[in-house]
Symmetry: C2
Amino acid sequence: MNDEGNLRPRYPGSSPQNPRILVVGAGAIGGYYAGKLAQSGAIVSTVHHSQADYDAVRTHGIHVESIHGDFHYHPFSVHREVPGASFSADTILVAVKALPDLDVAELIRPAVREHTVIVLLQNGLGNEELIAKAFPRNTLISGLAFICVSRIRPGVLRHLCYGRLSIGLYPRGVDDHVRGLSTLFESSGVSCAVCTDIIGERWKKLVWNAAFNPISVLGHQATTRDMMDSGVVRTLIENVMREVCRLARAEGYPLDEEAMVAKNMGETDRMESYKTSMLLDFEAGRPLEVEAILGYASRVARKHGIAAPCLNTLHALLTLATRPKVG
Amino acid sequence: MNDEGNLRPRYPGSSPQNPRILVVGAGAIGGYYAGKLAQSGAIVSTVHHSQADYDAVRTHGIHVESIHGDFHYHPFSVHREVPGASFSADTILVAVKALPDLDVAELIRPAVREHTVIVLLQNGLGNEELIAKAFPRNTLISGLAFICVSRIRPGVLRHLCYGRLSIGLYPRGVDDHVRGLSTLFESSGVSCAVCTDIIGERWKKLVWNAAFNPISVLGHQATTRDMMDSGVVRTLIENVMREVCRLARAEGYPLDEEAMVAKNMGETDRMESYKTSMLLDFEAGRPLEVEAILGYASRVARKHGIAAPCLNTLHALLTLATRPKVG
């Protein structure tokens, strides 16, 4: 297979330097990175689930208030649904939330062609498996975003801190698509690491996420400082991190437990206090990625027969806290 | 020692049938049982921490809207502080919350005489130890209340369901004081079991309390039905119950783990859905008995080197959720 071939122009106006990219779920994270890709010359189209976002973006484009300097862009085309036969993209970048009742494969299927590269920029673990199964012949890139960005109103985003990406082929490796996408991001100033073992990187990110995100919500609106200031909570956080490390190891991604705990605790101690993304979602009444972050870990524990009582407890409590409320 | 002697009249107006009882913490539970004792002929005085309660009760007495029929009583005397030298009681019944920053021994010390019987009607475990240490020569009775009663405004209580008591000597055994107090309660229609092993009974009650009370709060206002309807939450509840059973066994109170889990789950499945007392306290902004219910269990686990990851997780999260909120 000739990897280079997939990057050749296939549609009018598309070229390796100006690929057509369809961003599905152009909310905070999707909208921000879509803008950076547009700055680099990509022909970016966006899909908005919300009517308000769709209306605002179609009329005014997307405005980003960024710590790196505000910017504004108009997508090449704006859609409410993933476009079908009449539309073609070299790359589909998926930045919708990882929620159990959303079938991402079915969502993007209308736009997936033989050579379409699919990029998943989602939280948690387990998202790639279903996409790889649905589109086994397509190149699948998994990406991790380290960024604080929020949508403050339709068509307006606020980028508060960080912004780097890590990307790699699923399940492992790197190819020219990965390198090409990284180059595209880097040329707009987004640091984008190319990883040969992106799922290992996901496990590393989960070490922090699986502890701080759920505990911030279950601890009733706790900031990172609130959590780090309590001895019993610190112990809990460390225990959760150790459980994640053990699961990663069982899945073939060995992590140094002591080093991971020390690194994550130390960095969080040195950070400014802030609210986790899960807490911000919870406070705004948005759905939480409980299954992608904790449900997956619980299932991995069960599969390998590994005890993960803290993760299981957090998973059960968060399932309860996010139950559908009647009336 | 002649147990009978302690029940003999020592103060004008006091007799075994009409003992002088000082109820410290005459809120919902204390106010209810004080009223039942008054109905049985006890000379009941009450201590109210809240000025509003004190004012209302001094003027109007206490009104109880009860499923067993409403009733009204005027305490013999009403106090804002535990009365000292000029006051004498045969029995001090303590029904204040079990909170770490409240030193119950110091609170009641002004009213404790050589022969005063002390009755603790509090939740959780570990409350008796400090009282026994402070007043080693006094008879100490430990009591468990199974009741739903709430204070709906100063001087007015609503008794919704249940109402039975279990009492016994601390740390174990039964004497004439216990039997006399039970008779007094029973003569007002309160079922009051006499237990030779009251701390074992406390552990049994903790099996339910340690699971449902914390989870109802951490699960963001979950009723018993919300909890029982979720498979992962049921598993968590059962795991918490098993951990409590193991701790009870290590402390010398063997409980049949399977039978306890089956009994508590079955009874809760058959109950009407309701909010736990800890959840009601949380919603009302009142302090929660985190340490008496979960902190004690965590300490017992540490003492014996027994794993109690679910209890420890609940303890840490509840500590976080009830942290002092700034501004």
